[in-house]
């Protein structure tokens, strides 16, 4: 990125009416820096690097370590209608090149978010995408409505890897019909850009992707965590309080790449690639298989500035390979 990008979060707080301050734009156009901007689901991102839900808190936790203004978007921890307590500890265990988490979707609830967390994020010149979920279709819609009327939300990311309490606690995202139903309902509840985040724990992710598209999704994020488990051979107990958790990190990258590629070939919707992205090279791989933007998850824990380093690496790659736009790269894998 150009040197005009302000390094200090405080200095570069934007005034609410100017989404992209003129000096910033000039800097990017004039400095010969590559154009990394991309439009996803109608959201204009200054670059394709977002932070993944649940790995970046509500943004404020990371503000001491990096300039939030530089990110394409911040995706916040998944919100529900009411605050959620989450699962009993231990909630985290490291695995080979990955980690399992069973946070259990602990969150402050959508109202407290709008009141207490969103004002901080609005101070930055970065898009705020709100991840959310429900355990019934009604709840999904309620949350979407609250967010629809909140100022400063650029788009919604709907997590459908959640049990549907009305239909036998099966996850919404594991069945095309259920996916269609819940996405259609949410679509009617909000005018915000709607991104649907897919679960990888399915036989055919393209069927779910198609259902989400047919129901009106503007873009798709993939993948969420793989379902997994860890055991302590000495205590003979599960390592997670919840027994089962979600696997993330470099270990899952091959699975994620394959699913993005599959969906890219099957469904015409912008895709956001997620899963084990640690470096710019990883990010480029996701773009090659069809992702228009990417999210950095577990890497944020390993290295708080990971997202910025990835962004800088992408810019270098664009320069080195004389790539003019994100579009040029997306899905350009030579097979």
């Amino acid at each position: 990125m150009g040197s005009n990008i302000k390094k200090s979060a405080v200095r570069s707080q934007k005034s609410k009416t100017t989404p992209l301050t003129p000096p910033l734009q000039k800097g990017r156009a004039g400095g010969g820096a590559p154009d990394l901007s991309v439009n996803i689901a109608g959201i204009n991102l200054k670059n394709p690097v977002m932070t993944a839900s649940g790995t970046f808190g509500y943004g404020e936790e990371f503000a001491p370590y990096l300039d939030l203004n530089r990110l394409g978007a911040v995706v916040v921890k998944g919100l529900s209608l009411k605050p959620r307590q989450g699962n009993p500890p231990p909630r985290i265990v490291e695995t080979a090149a990955g980690m399992l988490n069973s946070i259990g979707l602990q969150n402050v609830g959508v109202e407290l978010f709008v009141e207490k967390k969103l004002p901080f994020l609005k101070k930055f010149d970065t898009k705020v995408i709100v991840n959310f979920f429900g355990d019934s279709i009604d709840e999904y819609c309620e949350v979407a409505k609250v967010l629809d009327s909140a100022e400063g939300v650029a788009g919604l990311e709907m997590n459908i890897s959640c049990p549907n309490k009305q239909e036998g606690w099966l996850e919404f995202g594991t069945n095309p019909a259920m996916t269609f139903k819940v996405v259609s309902a949410v679509r009617k509840s909000t005018k915000l850009p709607l991104i649907v985040k897919l679960s990888p724990n399915v036989t055919d992710i393209t069927a779910i992707a198609k259902a989400a598209k047919d129901a009106g999704a503007d873009a798709l994020s993939l993948i969420n965590t793989l379902s997994g488990m860890a055991v302590d051979a000495n205590t003979r107990r599960p390592k997670l309080g919840n027994i089962i958790g979600g696997l993330s990190g470099p270990a899952i990258k091959p699975v994620a790449l394959k699913m993005v590629w599959q969906v890219f070939k099957a469904v015409k919707l912008p895709l956001i690639g997620i899963g084990g992205i640690m470096t710019a090279e990883d990010a480029i791989e996701f773009m090659l298989v069809g992702a228009s933007a990417i999210q950095v998850g577990t890497a944020n824990f390993v290295e708080p500035q990971a997202s910025i380093k990835i962004l800088e690496g992408i810019a270098d790659y664009f320069k080195k390979n004389k790539i003019k736009s994100v579009k040029e790269l997306v899905g350009s894998l030579q097979v």
Binding site: T55, P90, I92, L112, V302, E303
Partner: protein, 279 residues
Amino acid sequence: MESNKTVEVLYNKQILPAYYKLGIGWKGLTDIEPGQFVMLRLTGRIDPLLRRPFGVYKILGQGIEILYKVVGKGTRLMTGLRPGDMVDILGPLGNSFPNPISSPFAKEGQRGMKIIMVAGGIGIVPFYLLGVKGQWSGSRQVLLFGGMGKEDLPGLEDFKKLGINIFISTEDGSVGKKGLVTDLLKKELSKKGNYIVYACGPKGMLKEVARIADKAGVACYVSLDQVMACGMGACLGCAVKVRERKNVGQGFSPANVFYKIVCKDGPVFDAKEIDWEAI
């Protein structure tokens, strides 16, 4: 201010079969309070993937000293660190042991309050800085230090030099009183006085310390250990169950609190807050 830095290893020396002292350079380091910690990884390594939390044992001229016990993959790798190697340090993180005088438990005119530090093995770490802070506003300190045996009392020499009153227990009786450190605590609390208990060590020990202090009607703070991913309150991975619903943890509505976050709400907690049944 918390920061993320790549810093140099100054020294790494084995002080006991399972314990090492790691000195790392850290320029521009501002003050660190007793109980605070850092998240450490070997620069460039992503196996192990996650950083590991370590308390700050000592503050050096231009850096800090970490006292660590070798228990698994990460700490085993750390034993290979040599001067000049680089490590990434995130911190200082977390809260700290409260100054007894400013603590809500301080009673009027408590200059004579006695701090009892209860440490189990590697749980000694936060107490060195506490000891250095010294006779905090005139309070007196005693260290109760327990371990499995004489090779499980890391840093004992440092405390002797500080001139703190020390009582030792070991489970094998190889040094000090044979038995548990909680026995020492019971004995200490049976004496007349104005006490506050600070404890760090294995969960089982902390649970018993909390019980004893509670029974004695004495204020007690514990430093908790939990597996962590981020160390900065972002992942909500280091949750601990709290007893009372009225305390507001990391981002909670006051109406329904079950969990607090060890890395941000802690690692030091008022023992009364913790739901010890769930530990």
